[in-house]
């Protein structure tokens, strides 16, 4: 059985300007110890999917309307807040996007790191906690951990803070780590180091990783499975090999071709024409049709169903019907 299984998830945001179908019938699954990459432009519903899994949607605007989120066989949608508090941070760790704003500015690193251990593992003694946290800081390759514990977030660099955040997310040995574009706020030089760190941790502890990014090339490098999301729906998903070999959906293809090849100079990167759709006013038919170079009449009439092109590779596009 898969560790995380999302079935037909619908998460809507009820805003002042209307209802936004942020997640609109998404399904995917993630095996224990594997890595799934969720790719898409900003505003496509990736973050809302993550927040739905943790049940931390913006209140009162966001709501899970229907669908199931099975985590280790249990439906998180049905859980009470008290039960969720026992899962968050213990069985599911999260690495948020921005390390600069994710740490509480008024507490020192020691307090923030020991907190989940105290809550979930019931350890009380300061010395025990401190040793454990020092150990974790070493694992996330922070030099001189004893000294860093005394620090406040504003005294650390961005890369260091993101390591601390990563350390917090693994501190209770979770089964699943959710990473929401953890490197976007970091310097390019630090990004590669951080991604390597995540991969190392993932393989040593054998945790499942749900990695969200807009960078398909990165996803190809670190993931086993890929799901491409557009306007709240998954348009293509499958194993990295399949999709890398044969990218089918026009949108995924556009994402691939906008990756600059390493070995040649090109004057201009191809870009996807048009704007990402406004989620208040989605077009009839396939949402990508207005920007799609291959759009047919059918595409403007009905949203394509999911077609399986091979074992574990499916795509929602009428061209593969």
């Amino acid at each position: 059985m898969a560790l995380l299984e999302i079935e037909d998830l619908h998460t809507y945001l009820y805003t002042r300007w209307g209802t936004v179908k942020a997640v609109d019938g998404t399904s995917f699954s993630l095996e224990r110890g594997k890595t799934l990459g969720l790719v898409g432009e900003s505003g496509c519903g990736k973050s809302m999917t993550l927040l739905s899994i943790l049940r931390l949607l913006p209140w009162p605007a966001g709501r899970i309307v229907s669908g199931r989120i099975l985590f280790d066989g249990e439906d998180l949608v049905q859980k009470s807040e008290g039960e969720l508090e026992k899962i968050r941070g213990k069985r599911i760790g999260m690495i948020p996007q921005d390390p600069y704003t994710s740490l509480n500015p008024v507490f020192n690193i020691e307090k923030q790191m020991t907190e989940p251990i105290q809550i979930h593992l019931g350890l009380k003694k300061r010395q025990v906690l401190k040793e454990r946290v020092t150990e974790i800081l070493r694992k996330v390759r922070i030099g001189d951990p004893e000294k860093r514990l005394e620090c406040y977030p504003h005294q650390l660099s961005g890369g260091m803070r993101q390591r601390v955040v990563g350390g917090i997310s693994i501190s209770c040995n979770p089964d699943l780590i959710i990473a929401d574009e953890p490197t976007t706020a970091l310097d390019v030089s630090v990004q590669a180091q951080y991604i390597n760190l995540i991969r190392d941790i993932q393989s040593t502890y054998n945790v499942a990783l749900l990695y969200v990014s807009h960078d398909l090339s990165l996803i190809f490098r670190i993931c086993d499975q890929v799901a491409v999301m557009y306007a709240g729906k998954i348009v293509e998903k499958g194993s990295v090999h399949e999709i890398f070999k044969e990218t089918l959906h026009p949108y995924s293809r556009a994402l691939v071709t906008s990756i600059p090849p390493v070995d040649c100079d090109i004057e201009r990167l191809p870009s996807i024409p048009g704007q990402p759709p406004k989620l208040f006013a989605l077009p009839q038919g396939c949402y990508f049709a207005p920007r799609c170079p291959h759009a047919m009449d059918k595409c403007r009439q009905a949203y394509p169903e999911e077609f399986f092109v091979s074992e574990g590779h499916s795509v929602s596009c009428w061209r593969y019907a």
């Binding site: 807040e81 968050r88 941070g89 999260m94 994710s102 740490l103 989940p116 406040y152 504003h154």
Partner: protein, 305 residues
């Protein structure tokens, strides 16, 4: 931390200086300052004596230094009415003001913090709108109106507490309630909006992702951060609070600085008014400094630079 406090100290010193300078020039703009300082029934000799005391025959900058020296040494002249030195009056009256203010501030903080937090946490509920309505009322009700009504209802009709004056603990009740209303309303409004912003911040969301339970999440992670912007607006609140204290002392015949100032104003006793105003501004500055120390204690970004 030390540099921050020193910087603020310097700034507050500038405030005091600006104020004293304004006062100095205002008095000199009246034509004959000695007349302004003299009692209404003063003889020409009296006025001459006062003029000599203020150094009015000397150049302006020497007058200015004399004036600053007098204030620094706490000699504000003599009251026309009681003929006592103003500094004596200030000393005896300010203690009563400080007592009432301390009671009020403690009361306000005890009430305002839970209300502000609850209003933010229970958003879009009846609780929030009730607290909101209460806060708008508190902002809008002048102390003199509320004081008069409280005296009539609780002191006169029900006879529960004394109507005025300072006699025993029960005499604190009505003035403290009246004075704290404005402060509570202001604090609740600031704290509520700051709590709402903080509850929406990334670090609170991350704390929830760690599995922090609701109570510590609100009272530790959020509140401590939400208090910082509230302290940032303390200057305005303190100014309004001191204004309120003058009104409340007048209404409740509280033997404090505010009442002293009011009666001096009515009797046109300028030395006393000047002394009271200076002392009030000094208080304002002192409380501002306390608030700065508190915020540097709460915020490591200030404490550690």
């Amino acid at each position: 931390m030390r540099s921050f406090i020193l910087r603020r100290l310097l700034q507050l010193f500038v405030t005091l200086f600006v104020f004293l300078t304004i006062m100095f020039f205002l008095v000199r703009m009246t034509g004959n300052p000695a007349e302004a300082f003299a009692p209404t029934d003063a003889t020409p000799e009296d006025i001459k004596r006062i003029a000599a005391g203020m150094g009015l025959d000397k150049p302006l900058y020497i007058q200015y230094f004399l004036y600053l020296k007098d204030i620094a040494t706490g000699s504000f002249g003599q009251s026309h009415k009681s003929l006592r030195p103003v500094s004596d009056l200030l000393l005896t009256h300010s203690i009563n003001t400080i007592k009432l203010a301390a009671v009020t501030v403690v009361l306000s903080i005890i009430i305002a913090i839970p209300l502000g937090v609850v209003a933010a946490v229970k958003r879009f509920t009846l609780i929030e709108s009730s607290i909101g309505v209460f806060a708008v009322f508190g902002m809008s009700v002048p102390g003199f109106w509320m004081g008069i009504i409280l005296i009539e209802l609780i002191a006169v009709r029900l006879g529960l507490v004394p109507a005025g004056g300072m006699s025993g603990p029960s005499s604190y009740i009505l003035p403290a309630i009246t004075m704290s209303t404005l402060l509570i309303a202001g604090l609740v409004r600031l704290l509520r909006s700051s709590m709402i912003d903080t509850l929406d911040s990334d670090f609170v969301r991350f704390a929830r992702m760690k599995g922090v339970r609701k109570r510590p999440l609100i009272w530790k992670h959020t509140l401590r951060n939400a208090l910082l912007p509230v302290l940032g607006f303390a200057g305005v609140q303190i100014a309004m609070f001191l204004t309120g204290s003058v009104v409340v002392e007048t209404v409740f015949a509280w033997p404090g600085l505010g009442r002293l100032m009011y009666s001096a104003l009515i009797e046109r006793d300028l030395p006393v008014v000047q002394g009271c105003v200076t002392l009030f501004v000094f208080f304002a500055i002192f409380i501002n400094l306390l608030v700065d120390i508190l915020s540097s204690y709460l915020d490591p970004r200030i404490r550690l630079g």
